[in-house]
Amino acid sequence: MANAPKQQARPAGGRAGMKKELPEHFKAYRHVWVFIEYEHGHVHPVSLELLGEGRKLAEKLDVEVVGVLLGGDKSELEAAATEVYEHGADVLYQVADPMLAHYRNETYTKCLTDLVNTYKPEILLLGATTLGRDLAGSVATTLATGLTADCTELAIDDDRSLAATRPTFGGSLLCTIYTLNFRPQMATVRPRVMAMPKREPGRTGRLIEHPLNMAEEDVVTKVLRFVADRDSNKVQLAFADIVVAGGLGLRSAENFQLVKDLAEVLGAEYGCSRPLVQKGWVPAERQIGQTGKTIRPKLYIAAGISGAIQHRVGVEGADLIVAINSDPNAPIFDFAHLGVVADALEVLPALTRAFAKHLSVNRLAG
């Protein structure tokens, strides 16, 4: 155990932190930090969303919003730094080192824990992406502090504690979690859960550079290659702006073609409910829901899907949910924005025709 987490002295009485008794050495921890996820030349939108959320928390606490940006090359990070200030950071801690050019757990964990131990934030937010979850779990364990996953709401209590609310049991329950007696209070948030703050061009902040202090020989894991999804034929469900999906109401594998047809006209990805995967009509990578993909498109069209809770939790982040279902009492109408009580086998091809026509007419006109 190289980074054996030090167990801080527990408050007397045992039951961890049911009462707030923040140990003396944590009282100096200040400011709201946002880990800026930067890869392949881009800042992940979730980090900018978190800067917006961090701003709200920081105002309540009367502290600063701090971005933490790690990357391979100083000059390459400049554009990202500007983006970070313009989305609300007052301060930027930056570590530029060729060893940080690609995300690796070892280097990033060491770097972020060092920064935390040096500059002592009271709150540390990360995106709940594959990178953010990989990193947050290691950092929280190394620091022996609490980490609340996939929060949908963050608030500050009167005593300055972070109240982090998150769904559990597949979305059927919510709970509010505190990290009362440890610092920093860590939380992850999924993309598109928090609103994107307005960019303020020209806004700037203080840059503080920090060294990595690691040697490549000491890092065991090597990144051999990165295959971008756009270069392979990978399904992009999770990132698609429009998703069309079908369920058992389509009745046969052949009818599922109607979903694909509409998706094609819209340049959308297509997906399905779980039973269609179980029946072998559609490959597993297309399943949407709790045990499939979580999607956050601008538009989600669900045809012949009843809207079970396990499906619902995978699609609730969509901006606009349209449901086509022959049963006016189908649960999907409880969370869809727009409902069409009709036969999907008729409406789907009609929609494909309508969009195809609209697009071709306007293309000729344009």
Binding site: M1, N3, P5, Q7, G14, A16, E39, H102, Y103, N105, T130, L131, D134, G137, S138, A140, T141, T145, L147, T148, A149, T168, F169, G170, L173, L174, C175, I177, T179, N181, V220, T221, K222, F226, A228, I242, G267, A284, Q290, T291, K298, L299, I309, D319, L320, F333, F335, H337, L338, G339, A342, V347, P349, A350, L351, R353, A354, H358, S360, N362
Partner: protein, 284 residues
């Protein structure tokens, strides 16, 4: 090669209710299953063992009834099962869970040989944090490979392993040294059906049961509720959304008329969809 697979017993349904008076989660009466994500890890482990020999140990922390899930794992072909159960483990958050599990993995290593790979699922369907895997890796200083979609060549002499890892917007191909902790992505394989003989021997097999003392935990304030920095203050059911879907009038209309109305409604309700589509169509 020794492999440990961590499995969690979870409620079979996402429909869990909160007790109206005590405000606690009511798990009673809800059937339990092996966390579905863990089956991908288990199957991957069994395949590695079938190919290159060794043993698969399944490990679960939970109440005594979690033995059911371990027995189920034995019917799929795991070689042995270890149940961690103790009242001191109750109320663990992910930090405390990873502490107890890593202590147990050390002990498994002492008794049956140190594992080259520790597997966990991607996440659970109840707590759903995906934090326990990274927690174990950090505590045991194992090289951490999360969201693994494919396990590539393992060079047992050189002690290296190559994997494909799902990253944001692509796949990372990573090479690292054994021992590793792998959290296995869903949909990567299909769970085998257990054989009849495995089922029969599983029914008779002994499940090793350890408590906190058995795995060398002297300071019980590191586990369970006391070892958990996070505190769940409130559990509540989401307020159902007030407005239900606005129903498009469909009476007496043809599918094409419905489709036209629907398309226009979509455009009027979202600022950018129509423009996005035009750009998409123009690019075709």
């Amino acid at each position: 090669m020794q492999i440990v697979v961590c499995i969690k017993q979870v409620p079979d349904s996402a429909q869990i209710r909160v007790h109206p008076v005590t405000n606690t989660i009511m798990r009673q009466g809800v059937p339990t299953i092996i966390n579905p994500y863990d089956l991908f890890a288990l199957e991957e482990a069994l395949r590695l063992r079938d190919k290159s020999g060794g043993e698969v140990t399944v490990l679960s922390m939970g109440p005594p009834m979690a033995e059911d899930s371990l027995r189920k794992a034995l019917t799929f072909g795991a070689d042995r099962a270890v149940l961690l159960t103790d009242r001191f483990f109750a109320g663990s958050d992910t930090l405390a869970t990873s502490f107890s599990l890593s202590q147990a993995i050390k002990k498994i290593g002492e008794v049956w040989g140190a594992p080259s790979i520790v597997f966990t699922g991607k996440q659970t369907i109840d707590g759903d944090t995906a934090q326990v895997g990274p927690g174990i890796a950090t505590r045991l200083n194992l090289n951490q490979l999360t969201y693994v979609a494919k396990i590539g060549p393992i060079d047992r002499e050189g002690g290296t392993i190559e994997v494909e890892r799902r990253a944001e917007g692509g796949v990372q191909v990573l090479q690292t040294k054994l021992p590793v902790l792998i959290t296995m992505l869903e949909g990567t394989n299909e769970m085998r059906r257990g054989s009849l003989s495995a089922a029969l021997s599983a029914a008779k097999a002994d499940v090793t049961v350890w408590n906190a003392a058995d795995i060398g935990i002297e300071d019980v304030t590191k586990c369970g509720l006391r070892g958990s920095p996070t505190v769940v203050k409130r559990v509540f059911a989401p307020t159902p959304r007030e407005e239900k879907a606005e129903q498009l009038p469909v009476g007496g209309k043809s599918p094409d008329e419905i489709a036209d109305t629907l398309m226009n409604e979509i455009f009027s309700r979202h600022q950018t969809i129509e423009d996005d589509l035009m750009n998409f169509a123009a690019g075709q």
